[in-house]
Symmetry: D2
Subunit: 395 residues, 4 copies
Amino acid sequence: MSSSGPLRVGMVGYAFMGAAHSHAWRTASRFFDLPLVPELTALAGRNAVAARTAADRMGWSSVETDWRRLIERDDIDLIDICTPGDTHAQIAIAALEAGKHVLCEKPLANSVPEAEAMTAAAERAAADGVMAMCGFTYRRTPALALFKQMIANGEVGTIRQVRAQYLQDWLSDENAPLTWRMDKEKAGSGALGDIGAHIIDASQFVTGQQITGVSALMETFVARRPLGGDLVGLGGRGQVGEDVPSGPVTVDDAAVFTARFDGGPIGVFEATRFALGRRNALRLEVNGSLGSIAFDFEDMNTLQYYDGTNEPGRQGFRRILVTEPEHPYVSHWWPAGHGLGYEHGFTHQVVDLVTAIGSGEQPTPSFADALGVQRVLAAVEASAGNNSTWQFVDG
Amino acid sequence: MSSSGPLRVGMVGYAFMGAAHSHAWRTASRFFDLPLVPELTALAGRNAVAARTAADRMGWSSVETDWRRLIERDDIDLIDICTPGDTHAQIAIAALEAGKHVLCEKPLANSVPEAEAMTAAAERAAADGVMAMCGFTYRRTPALALFKQMIANGEVGTIRQVRAQYLQDWLSDENAPLTWRMDKEKAGSGALGDIGAHIIDASQFVTGQQITGVSALMETFVARRPLGGDLVGLGGRGQVGEDVPSGPVTVDDAAVFTARFDGGPIGVFEATRFALGRRNALRLEVNGSLGSIAFDFEDMNTLQYYDGTNEPGRQGFRRILVTEPEHPYVSHWWPAGHGLGYEHGFTHQVVDLVTAIGSGEQPTPSFADALGVQRVLAAVEASAGNNSTWQFVDG
Amino acid sequence: MSSSGPLRVGMVGYAFMGAAHSHAWRTASRFFDLPLVPELTALAGRNAVAARTAADRMGWSSVETDWRRLIERDDIDLIDICTPGDTHAQIAIAALEAGKHVLCEKPLANSVPEAEAMTAAAERAAADGVMAMCGFTYRRTPALALFKQMIANGEVGTIRQVRAQYLQDWLSDENAPLTWRMDKEKAGSGALGDIGAHIIDASQFVTGQQITGVSALMETFVARRPLGGDLVGLGGRGQVGEDVPSGPVTVDDAAVFTARFDGGPIGVFEATRFALGRRNALRLEVNGSLGSIAFDFEDMNTLQYYDGTNEPGRQGFRRILVTEPEHPYVSHWWPAGHGLGYEHGFTHQVVDLVTAIGSGEQPTPSFADALGVQRVLAAVEASAGNNSTWQFVDG
Amino acid sequence: MSSSGPLRVGMVGYAFMGAAHSHAWRTASRFFDLPLVPELTALAGRNAVAARTAADRMGWSSVETDWRRLIERDDIDLIDICTPGDTHAQIAIAALEAGKHVLCEKPLANSVPEAEAMTAAAERAAADGVMAMCGFTYRRTPALALFKQMIANGEVGTIRQVRAQYLQDWLSDENAPLTWRMDKEKAGSGALGDIGAHIIDASQFVTGQQITGVSALMETFVARRPLGGDLVGLGGRGQVGEDVPSGPVTVDDAAVFTARFDGGPIGVFEATRFALGRRNALRLEVNGSLGSIAFDFEDMNTLQYYDGTNEPGRQGFRRILVTEPEHPYVSHWWPAGHGLGYEHGFTHQVVDLVTAIGSGEQPTPSFADALGVQRVLAAVEASAGNNSTWQFVDG
C-alpha cells in the first residue's frame, strides 16, 4: 500500500482525549502503511491562548476558536470530535453536511434522538463517500481484537454467558470534586454512559451479537460534591476544607444490569466509579460451549483463554501475552513480550479509519453501531426507573 | 478447655457431603480443644450393604437403614443431615423434637414454608438447650472468616458494592448426565439453590447486612440430558451414544440478579454451572469507602486486600496468604505458607458447632439465618418469573 | 484391592512432623484402598508426660520413652522417624536390623557417611522384604506428581533448564529466636539441608535426572540470635528485650548454587529463610524444547503449563487447577476445584508406602535416592567452602 | 521549564533499536517540558536506499551512508548509536572527540578495553560540557524507577538478597536462524551481553550497590543454526528444510551466576534465550529486612511490594499498578490504570538525557556506569571459563 496524499485533520477539544488523539494522528503513519498520511492541520478551542498552547504542544499547525470555522475551512478533510457529549450531535452533523469525514468520541450522544439524527446524517453523507466513525477505542486494544477474532473463528463454540465489568474508583473519595462528568446536562449519564458504554460496545463487538433487553439498577452514592475541580479532568484526590461550596451530582455513580443477547447468551454488566482499588478494570468474559475467554484492561497485554477441547487433566486458563506477530496490529510494533500501552488503541483507530477512508469502505463502529449502544443505554435507564422491570431494547 | 464427655453423632446420607462430614467428625478433636469429643456412632442409609460399606470406610460404628431409627436411638446426641434438600425438613424437625442437636446441609430446605417450619422447630428446641445449625461451610474457610473480621473491624469503611459469583462448569458439556441436582422435586432449584445459596450466605455473612430486594434472570441452557448419571454425584464428563434415553432438566442452569442490602450497598450476583473453565470459583468482592476485599475459592488460601489509607503511590491489592497464626482457625494447623484444603471448612464447622453446644450458645448460621437465605432464593425466583421486576425479600 | 491385615506403626518424635504424620496414618485408609490398614500403635518421646499428651491428642494407643523400646516391641511393624537429623541414622539402622519397615523424615542424615550406612542397612533389610523410604513428601503434592508425569510423557521434550527456589522468611526478623534448626550439630545445615534438600529432590524427581556437579555460595546474614525459642518449633516472631542472652547461628541462612544434570540441562537453585514475604515458596520450573512447566507451593493446587506445540498466537502458560479426577491422587478426594492442603502430601505418602509394602515392592524415594540428595548437599557445602569452584557430585 | 532551542540528532542504525529511538525523539517534547527540542536531523546507514526508506518512515530529515559524515556535520548536536556492539567504541569516541553528545545503545562495547577507552573519551569530553550516556532503557520503565526510589527511601531496609532473571525463548526452536546476535565477533556474547547486561545494570541501579564478585556457568544448547536469517532481527520461528546450510553459534545461549554486592547482599542471576514460554521476562526481586519488591517486565505496569511493617495477619505482596501521578514519569501521560508500553522507556530516556544536557549535568547511566556492567560481564565469562571459580570484578 502506498500513500496517495494527505488527510488533513481538524480536531475539536484538546483535553485528555485530545492528547490521545493527537498522538495517534502523529504516530500512525510511522508504524503502519496508510493510504493517506494524516496531517495535524488545525485544532479548535474556545480559549485562544489555551488552544494555541495545546496546539504547539501537540503538534497542530493552526488554531480556531470556533469549531464552525474549522468546518468551513477548505483545507480540512476530517473533523475529530473530542468534546463532551452534549456537543457531539451539533458538530458531527454540521461536519458531515459540509462533506467532512468525522471521528466522534463516545458515547455518540447524550440521547437516542440525537444519536438517531447523527446516524441519519452519517447515512446521507455515506452516499457521497463521506465517512463517520465512533471512537470506541478499546476495540483496537490487540487483546480485545484477538478476542473477537477467536469468537468469530468458532473457538468458544456457542456462547452461553457474558460477564462484563468496568470498574473504576476515582469517585470513591467523597471529596473528589465535581466536574462536567457528574453533570447530567453535559455528560448525559455518569458511570453508565462514560464507561458502561464501553463494555456494552465491547460485548457486542466480541460476540457479534446485539443486546435485546435489560433489567437495571442505578445508584448515586454521593449526592453532593465540592466545587472547584478541574472541569476537564477525571477528578483526582480531594483536598477540600469544610467550607468549600458544593454542587449536586446529577448522574449515576454505578449502574448494574442483567441482559439477554440475540444469539442466546445471558449477560451481567456492571459499571462503577466506586470500586476502590480498581483503577481501570474493563473486564469481559465470555463462556461458550467449547471455550472461554477473559480480558482485563488492567493487564491489557494479555488474554486468558480456556480451550475446552484440551485433553482432560491438561485444561486450564492460558495467559496469552498478546504481543506476537500473529496478533492484530502487533507486527507493526516490537518483538514478542514487549508490551503496548493505552494510547496504542488510538493509533490503531486512526489506522483503521484512514484505511477505510482510503478504500472507500465504511469504518466500524459506524454511527449506526454507536446508536445501537445508545439504545441499550436508554433501556438501562428506563428499566432502572421502572423497578428494574425488563426493558426491551428498541431498534 | 478440657473435654467433658462424648458427642455421639448419627449421620443421614453418605455421598459427597457425607464423606466430608465424616472426615470432620473424625479430625476436629485431633487439632482443636473441644468441650465434647465427637464419636461417629451411626450412619443411616436406605441400602444396607452400601451403608455398611460406607460406614466401614468412613469410620462409623453402626448402621441404620431408616433415619427414623437413628432418631429413636438413645445413644445419639446429634443428627447430621447430608441428604438432598427435599428430606431436610422432615428429618430435622423430627430430630429436634426428639431432643437431638441438628446439623443440616444447605440449602436449609426446598421452600420457604419448609424452612419456616424448621426454624420454628429449632426455636422450640433451643428453649431446651437443643441446638440447630445449617451447613454453610464456606464461612469456615479461613480467608472468608478473615474477610468478615476485617469488615467488622471497619477496615473497609462504609460498604458500597458487593460483587458475588459462584462459577462452575460441570454442566457445560451437553452430554453430562441427568442427576437429582437437576430435578426440581429433589433439589428445589438448580444453580440458584445449590451454589447461589452459598454466595447469598457468604455476602450476608461478611457484610453483616441483609439483602432487601432483588431483580433476577434465570436460564436453562440445556433442556434435556441423558439418563443414567450417578444419581448422587456431581455429574461428570458425558460419554453418551445417540440412543441414550434422556430426561428433562427442571431447574435453572444459571441465575443472575442485582440486589440491595439493608446498609446501603448494591450487589451483583451470578450463579452458574456453565462458566466453562471455572471449576469452583466462589468469588466475593466488597468495595468500601476505606478499602476493598476480594476472595476466590479457586485460590482459597489467599485474600486480596486493598487498603485505601495507604500512601498514594503505594496502594494496591495485597495478596494475603491466609495461613498465619493470626488468622481464624489457622494456628491449629501448620506453619505459615502451608495451605489448607476444602475439607478444613468442615472440620472448622464441627469445631464451632461443638464449641457452641458445649457452651450452651446458639451456633451460627442458625436455622433462622438459613431461612433468611431461603427467602432471598424465593425472591430471586419470584422476580425471574415476573419480568425481572424488583422483588422485596419478605421477612 | 482389599485389606489383608493391620500395619502397626511406632512413631518417634511428635512435633510439627509428628502431627502431620499422625494425621496421615489416621486418614489414608478412609479415602484410599490400602492392602494393610495402618494402626497408630505407639509413640515414643523422652518426656513421658508430654508424649502421653501428644499420643492422646494424635490418636496413638501407647507411649514409650525410649525409641529402643519401640523397636523391641513385637507388635510394631514400622518405625516412623520424625526427629531431628542427628538421630536418624541410629534409629533407622536399629529398626531395619530388627526387621521393621522404616519411614524416615528428610534430610536422610546429617552427613554422607551416615546416609551411606543407612542405605547399606536398607539394602540388607530389603533382601528380607523389609522396606525403607525417605519422607520427601512434596513429591506427593498432586501438582508435583503431575509435573513428573508430564515430563515422563515427553510433554516438555528435551529438558534445557531447571529453575528451583525454596523461599521462606521466618528468620528475616533478626530477633527470631535460636532453635535446633540453626544448630549445625542437630540440623546438619540450615536452609540448605532443611529446604534446599526438598528442591534438590523435587528437581531430580520431576526430571528423572541426577545432578552431576555444582558451584555454590552460602551465607549467614544474622550471626547470633536470642536464646529461649521453642526448641521444636519453626521460630516465629521475635519479641526480645536488650538483655536477652544470645547464641551463635552455626548454619547457613541462604544457599544458592548453579548445577548440571546428567541429561544435559543446567540448573539454578536457591534456598533461603530470608526472602521476606515468601512464606513457603517451593518453586520449580523446567524449560524444555517442546514445553515448560512451573510450580509454586504457595499456590499448591495449580500447575503452570506452556505447550510449545500450540498454534502461534494461541500460546501461553496455562493454569491447570490440579483438582481433576485425572490428576494423581485426586480422584479419592473432592470434586474438581475443591483444593487440597499441605497435609494431603503426607496422606499420599502413607498410601504409596503401604501400597509398596503390601505388594513387596521398593517404595520411592528409597534411602539410596535420599543418599543421592545427601551427596548433592555435600557437594554444595564443598564448593561453597572452596571459592565456589565447581564440585562434582560423588556417586 | 521553557525550551531554549533545538537539539539536532544524528542516528546511526535503523533497525529495531532505531525505530524505538526515533519514536522517542519524535514524542518526548509532546508530553514533557524539555529545555531543548529534539530534531530528527539525519540518519546514517550503509545502504542508501534502505536508509532513505527508513528515514522517511521514521521522520528523519536527511540521510548519510557513512557515520563519519554524520559526525562531520555542523548541524548535528548529538549522535545516537543504534548499531551492533562491535562498532560502538569507534563511533562513540569519534563523536565525543568531535564535540557531539552521545547516546550509545547497550552493552557499551564488546570488551572491557573498548569500554575503558570509551569511558576515557567520555570523561575528556565532559570537561567541555559534552555528555555521554548508555542506553540501559529499562531503568526508565516507571515500575523500575519506582523500585529504585523505594529502596533509596529505605522502604526495604537492609538488602539481603537479589534475584534477577531475564528469560526469553526466541532461540528455543532449534531451527531459528543464525543472526549477528549469535556471532561473537559482532555481539561480544550471547544472552549474557544482550540481556544479562540489562539485569546486571537493573540490579545495580535499584540497589545502589555494585557487584563485587561472581561464580558463573554458561551454556550453548544448540551449536549450529541455519543460515539465512534476517541479519538485523531477533530471529523468529524457523521454517527450514533439511538442506539449508548452517553456521556455528559462537556465543552463549544461557548464562547463570551467583554474585555478591558491596553492601552485603548475595544475588542469583540468570539470562537465557531458551526459557520456552517466557517472551521477555526481565524479573528482579530484592528482599530486605523491612520489605521486598519484585518486578516482571511481562507485567511491566505493576510492581509487587511487600511491606514487612504491616500488621501481622495483614501482610502480603501488594500489586501496585504503576500508573499513578505520584509515580516516576507517569503524570505526563494518562489517568490511573491506563498502562504504558515498551517504547515509553525510550521516550523517558530522551527526557532524562535532554534534561541533563540542558542543565549541564552528567546523565546516568554514564559510560563509567556502563563500564562497570562490562566488568561484571567479563568476570562472568572469566569464572565460567575457570570451573566457576569465584572471580572478583576488577575495578
